[in-house]
């Protein structure tokens, strides 16, 4: 019997040894990835003991997120509070005990909890812990402009949509608004969270207020995409702004007539026009023919240079930023196969194209900045609790979208849109504004996504951006979105505030 007993003994010891191996696996090998999981409440409890850093708007005074201390079992715990309750909610995000984190609170968590891998802070944190001193996080200052952001939020109140405005030369994001919005102070309570999750009936997309429509909202770009189509044509030298076209009021594709959109009080057919005029008046028939001539593959290749099919490297959590491009709703994936695209409709931003407002703001910024797109960034700087600078975001180039000459031509064309085209509602006395309207079909007749992309001043652009208003009934980009863009520019440009 002893042989069998030895074997059974060995078997039992092996089983127990397996437990040591598995414990090692979870405690040493898998520990970092488990700690990083969003549903890990233990980590959030640990974070409660940390006094998170404050989040400021660009003026360095307006506090967007701070802490309230409370005592629990002799320990001081810190709950997050948002004094501006509802200001840039989706962008600032939230950090709660019961739920995960979002927005800047999530992407800058390492700085806000002083757990960033900086030898100095690690040492300070360790000695704080040993001394029983509360760990205090670093303060984060954003580029968000209080005044312009408030203008955007009040303009979007009651509708669904988003606005993004940034500095085309540096990529600093001044405005990132998404409507409907929510109060981040309500996220912690179950009742509050449930009401936030409930999709507002005014937005047929049925997505909740938690969605950052500026970076995650996917809309057909409509005519704003003609900017990319025109850039393709100009970059490749196929056309110049003065290339002549004839507009019969429709374009024939696959044997069927595609009629011009009945944009406001414009004629049904323009007759003889050049490329600039076609862009100025947003003539679909002309762009349809441009698209057929260029082909979908070339337009898509150009769009990629503008950042389509890539996730913009903005400093938000990666799950909260979407790429843009042709989207196959049956597979739920973006696709690049030109054979599956309709080049004529693609050229004027319909087909299966879906873009985020951030991406379209970057298209405008590319034109404004001589063809170069900067990395968009929300964080201006991070300072230690004592006030010394931890890090400052430096402007970085993301993409070279087009030749400088193409950008210069498009600059003129976009100015023409505002001076005498579809975007006159964006005119600001004393400032040359450049822009492009978009009125994207969403399915139901007379219900559009109204777009406006813009930059100003045209000769020395300080701001560029995009505004979208979802499912606006009978509303065109020029009438609905352009006035919002105008208000945004007026809020931030010094020369404009005098008027």
């Amino acid at each position: 019997m002893n042989k069998q007993i030895s074997r059974v003994s060995l078997f039992s010891l092996l089983l127990l040894a397996l437990l040591v191996v598995a414990t090692t696996y979870w405690q040493a090998w898998e520990a970092p990835s488990l700690a990083a999981r969003q549903d890990n409440s233990l980590e959030r409890v640990a974070q409660l003991e940390i006094k998170r850093g404050l989040i400021y708007a660009s003026n360095g005074k307006t506090v967007l997120a701070s802490n309230v201390a409370r005592k629990s079992d002799g320990e001081t715990l810190y709950d997050r509070t948002y004094p501006t309750g509802g200001f840039a909610s989706q962008t600032v995000g939230y950090s709660t005990t019961g739920r995960s984190q979002a927005g800047i609170e999530r992407s800058e968590n390492a700085y806000l909890t002083a757990s960033n891998a900086n030898l100095g802070t690690i040492w300070d944190k360790l000695s704080d812990k040993l001394k029983g001193v509360t760990v205090t996080g670093n303060n984060v200052t954003l580029n968000l402009d209080v005044k312009a952001q408030r203008v955007a939020e009040s303009a979007l109140k009651g509708v669904c949509g988003a606005a993004v405005m940034l500095n085309p030369k540096t990529g600093a994001v001044y405005v990132m608004a998404s409507s409907p919005t929510y109060n981040p102070n309500d996220v912690e309570s179950n009742k509050g969270y449930a009401s936030i999750l409930k999709a507002p009936s005014s937005c047929p997309g049925s997505s909740s207020a938690l969605l950052n429509r500026a970076t995650q909202g996917l809309y057909p770009p409509g005519s704003t995409f003609k900017t990319v189509t025109a850039a393709t044509a100009l970059d490749d030298g196929v056309y110049t702004p003065t290339s002549p076209f004839y507009d019969p009021g429709y374009c024939t594709e696959y044997g069927q007539q595609i009629h011009n959109a009945l944009d406001e009080s414009t004629p049904e057919a323009y007759g003889n026009v050049d490329l600039l005029q076609a862009y100025q008046h947003s003539i679909n028939a002309v762009f349809c023919n441009v698209g057929k001539k260029l082909g979908a593959a070339r337009i898509i290749a150009e769009a990629k240079k503008f950042g389509f099919y890539s996730t913009p490297p903005i400093d938000l959590p990666s799950g909260e930023v979407s790429e843009s491009g042709e989207f196959d709703s049956t597979t739920g994936r973006f696709f690049t196969d030109a054979a599956k695209m309709d080049p004529g409709r693609l050229a004027f931003g319909q087909d299966k194209l879906l873009t985020t407002p951030l991406q379209m703001a970057l298209v405008a910024s590319a034109v404004a900045n001589g063809g170069t797109i900067m990395v968009p960034h929300l964080v201006k700087e991070v300072r230690s609790p004592g006030g010394s600078l931890v890090t400052k975001t430096k402007p970085q180039v993301w993409k070279h979208a087009m030749k400088p000459q193409t950008a210069a031509d498009l600059n003129q064309m976009m100015q023409a849109v505002v001076t005498g085209g579809t975007g006159t509602a964006a005119q600001i006395p004393g400032i040359e504004v450049a822009g492009k309207t978009g009125t994207a079909e969403t399915g139901p007749t007379d219900v559009y996504d109204a777009w406006f992309i813009f930059f100003a001043p045209a000769n020395d652009p300080q701001v560029a951006g995009a505004v979208v208003v979802e499912h606006s009934v009978g509303g065109f980009g020029g009438a609905v979105a352009a006035p919002i863009a105008k208000a945004l520019m007026q809020a931030i440009l010094p020369a404009a505030s005098n008027h």
């Binding site: 078997f11 039992s12 437990l19 598995a22 414990t23 488990l34």
Partner: protein, 432 residues
Amino acid sequence: MRNRELLYLAPVGILTAVGFASVYIAQRAVVNWDSLGYAVFFFALYVAAHVIARITVPNADPTLLPMAGLLTAIGVTEIYRLGPSDAFKQGLWIVIGVALFAVALLGLRRDYRVLEQYKYLFGITAIVLLFLPRLPGIGSEVNGARLWVHVGPLQLQPGELAKISLVLFLAGYLREKREVLAQGRLKDLGPLLVIWGGCMLVLLETNDLGSGILYFGVFLAMLYIATARLSYVIGGVVLFLAGGFAAYEKIPHIQERVTIWLHPWTTHTVYCAQTGTMTLRQDCDSYQLVHSLYSIANGGFGGTGLGKGTFVLPGKPPIQLIPEVNTDFIYSALAQEIGLIGAAALLLVFMLFVARGMKIALQADDGFSKLLAAGLTFVFGLQAFIIVGGVLRIIPLTGITLPFISYGGSSVVANFLLLAGLLLVSHRANSA
């Protein structure tokens, strides 16, 4: 032998004192004399157990009692840290356990082999105990498994005592039938199939995979020791897998356990029966397992320190992060607070206990004693593997206690009886 036992008990007493003291320091910010009182009390209890052992089984293995003492001390310290009122109850159960340990040693010190005569009584007792939770009025269902019996204010898990009865029965039965069984004649397989059927019934009736694996595993191990036929083990495993698969198909509770085991995290929402809504599985069915893993991972290499771990989400009211943390999930609590070093040391104590137990089986000179010691040791080791393996996601998780450590009276009492059995066999083997 007994002097060595006393010597080994000294560090156990010191460790208990240090353990309680550190929980006190971490949670009260002051050292309280009560903590030392606990340590003194437990040390006295084990010295008493030692004295009984000195009188009744002077030649028994000197390491088992100190190891059991160490494990209960670790357990009661952690239970105290998780909730002082449970620790008091656990302390009472340990006293009862030690008392029964003394009774068993005193009653059986001449020759425990008389038990062999009552093997069928033990077999019937095991079956009755296993089916007690099914009886209306006293049985109750916890988390979809029926393992509990209520007698007045007491909650008992009869399955814990059933395992001792089962080992006693199998030791007696297999000792008698081993030659016949070893020949492998078909007609002798009848009783084995009956036991297999019984285990399957237990599985179906209690909805508990863990007990099924435990009883059947012990049965196979002892059958193998008795007959030396590996084919029985293979056949048994195949039969068990077949039965287990059928149970998986039929019983939603077992299906759920397996799903949680294989896919604790989802990226898309799934239906959550508890709330009736669509949520991620880690927020619903697998919340407990996943948070137990987070707890283990949070310990890291050195652990957070006793009393410094995170088990409660502060709030109004505070939320327990791991439900049943002091019974089924005590290992994840310990792993967080004492870290990889401590957890590995703890598992090492279990391995040493198993090694010493098996050594006793090797030294014993009659078949009944060998089977008894090996069976008791194997049931101890396998039970530790089933619960810790479940917590660590090696196998599907089932609710079962970690011997000597988990909170639970039946478990403590049963394991002290198990210890008494091993000491009795050891004493006899060393006295010859």
